[in-house]
């Protein structure tokens, strides 16, 4: 029974990683950059919910909606101000800027909210599920996380494959120049990608902080890095890859927490990343990209 309970909570944690990893992988696919600030958008979203629901006392759903809207706006603004002027710059310059943005968000939150850890009130009101005569206990947060993630992933897959803006995203990530010649507004498509990625990060933030209710300015950093690991694991740039990678990574993390050592689980996750990079750097579903001169 232990195994099953680790597995279920692993899938739940993995779904959150998958939601965050989607943001990484979509941005990487389209803008060919690693958006370091993505993890901090999660933290930002969680703080919005904390302010609205805990401090102001409004219903949780208002907080979640406000958090999605604010994160979306932040995602678009960050892209416009910091990344857009660097489209033609070296990847090192873009990377340093992204780290600057991430650091800016963390420290702005530190100045506004202070460094102490806040206890986050769960936004989920589902009851706890008891199976097999109470041997397997699944919390409402776990169920909600899995359900919400499945709905979002299905919706996102449909959006990308069936709608015009979604197909535009695929086209831009394939070939920016050709997409532009076909009449696709590249700048708007990139903005849309950042907007969707950040909205997903807001949802992930709400779910993550409901399950692990400790909120501080560095809350987003570690899940952010792990989600990136998940994106690499699944094959960076690939949307189904991010989903599979996220869930696998969550399961690996929780199983190693249960059976090996809870303190070493972070290290184990990164050993996975290094093994993936050694054996198959393109990930499970990634395509091998040939560099052209």
């Amino acid at each position: 029974m232990d195994f099953l309970s680790y597995l279920v909570s692993g899938i739940s944690l993995g779904s959150v990683y998958a939601l965050i990893a989607l943001g990484y992988t979509m941005v990487y696919g389209i803008a060919k950059m690693l958006n370091f600030a993505h993890g901090d958008v999660i933290m930002l979203g969680a703080f919005v919910i904390y302010t609205i629901s805990t401090t102001l006392g409004l219903p949780a759903i208002v907080g979640v909606l406000a958090s999605i809207v604010i994160c979306t706006i932040f995602g678009i603004v960050i892209e416009k101000v910091a990344y857009k002027p660097l489209r033609k710059a070296s990847s090192l310059a873009v990377l340093i800027t992204a780290i600057g943005v991430s650091y800016l968000l963390q420290n702005a939150a530190l100045l506004i909210f202070g460094s102490d850890t806040k206890s986050f009130t769960s936004v989920v009101t589902l009851p706890t599920l008891k199976l097999f005569d109470g041997q397997l206990i699944i919390s409402g947060e776990t169920i909600a996380t899995i359900l919400v993630s499945v709905v979002i992933m299905v919706a996102l897959t449909l959006f990308i494959n069936k709608t015009k803006p979604g197909k535009a995203m695929l086209a831009v990530s394939e070939d920016k120049g050709a997409a532009q010649l076909m009449g696709i507004n590249v700048n708007r498509t990139i903005s849309l990608t950042f907007a969707i990625g950040s909205a997903l990060a807001a949802v992930a933030g709400a779910l993550l902080c409901s399950a692990y209710p400790a909120l501080s300015p560095t809350t987003g950093a570690m899940p952010g890095i792990k989600a990136f690991t998940a994106a690499v694991f699944g094959g960076i740039g690939s949307i189904p890859g991010a989903m599979i990678g996220g869930i696998l990574l969550g399961v690996i993390e929780n199983l190693s927490k249960g059976y090996i050592s809870s303190q070493l689980s972070d290290a184990i996750v990164f050993v996975v990343l290094i093994i993936v990079l050694l054996v198959k750097p393109t990930g499970i579903l990634g395509k091998k990209i040939r560099e052209k001169v």
């Binding site: 950059m33 690693l34 370091f36 910091a82 002027p85 660097l86 033609k88 710059a89 070296s90 990847s91 090192l92 310059a93 873009v94 990377l95 340093i96 800027t97 780290i99 600057g100 943005v101 650091y103 800016l104 963390q106 420290n107 702005a108 530190l110 100045l111 560095t218 950093a221 570690m222 890095i225 990136f228 690991t229 690499v232 050592s261 303190q263 070493l264 972070d266 290290a267 990164f270 990343l273 290094i274 990079l277 050694l278 750097p281 560099e291 001169v293």
Partner: protein, 364 residues
Amino acid sequence: MKKKRALKQTTKSNLITYAMLAGAFVLVEILLSTGNISYMFKGLLVPLCYYSILAVSLNLVVGILGDLSLGHAGFMCVGAYVSASFSVMFQDAIPQDWLRFLIALLLGGLVAGLFGLLIGIPVLRLNGDYLAIVTLAFGEIIKNIVNLLYVGIDENGLHVSMESSAALNMTENGRMIIKGALGITGTPNDSTFLIGFVLLLITVFVSLNLINSRTGRAVMSIRDNRIAAESIGINITHYKLIVFAVSAFFAGIAGVLYAHNLSSLTATTKNFGYNMSIMILVFVVLGGIGSTRGSIIAAVILTALPEVLRELNDYRMLIYAVVLILLMLANNNEKLNHFKEKISISNFLRNRKNGNTLDKEANS
């Protein structure tokens, strides 16, 4: 003709760097001997050395290799912990301070360099984004693991545990060396300004010679065009590994200096975490990516400045972040670059001397 002139320029630039260091050293020594130096500034002398070493060594990765390492503080942490454990362990066995410190320095640097190799082997084959994320993860994990580590020594040898000091099962003569989150206490204070300065000088010497060597040129050609470099037979991973390991080695040396400057050593976010790695990156970026001299100047200014302007301390990290973003945006702004070229005095003089504008590119 032209080649000779280019060679002279690098030599000249290197000489300016050494002269600057020598001048700074003489100035500090004069101030120290006349007593015209505040207590606070005296306490900053060794930190200035190890921050400069960190900046120069990170500049090797960011400026010469063109990749980003966010785990520099992690390598520093490795160097600090390895050397401090060694010094505490052999404090009585090796009574000569200089010999013990020399071994501690070599040990700290070599182990940090070894970690650099271990991380570099899987990651340096890939493009730069992976290095950033893996080194960042490495820095955080090293910090966490060190905080869980309990090491003790008794007549049966070393005992290591990751749970508690009781789990070490030592005899009553046992001595604790690393006490988990409490770190290492009783490290001998072997770091002095003179040693720090000599180490900085060695770091600068190795760094400048590496940059101007065959290896350095190979690495820079990889940075500028990976495919072209590979097609003329340069072994990319091999050269990248050399530079990365050297950089990690010197970060470890800086860690040794750091550990032996304080009597108790703990690993926190502030000294060995992400914040530290970013701070070193700010030194390099502000000093001008690729410029050894600039890295040192930026490290000195940014270390001394917050001590002088204490009111700004709360906003320091915020300012670092803004500096990173604005510098990158300004560097890649076409209009601004054009303007800079227009007003550049050295360009103006050179153009007048040569009577042509062909050299314009040389400065960009």
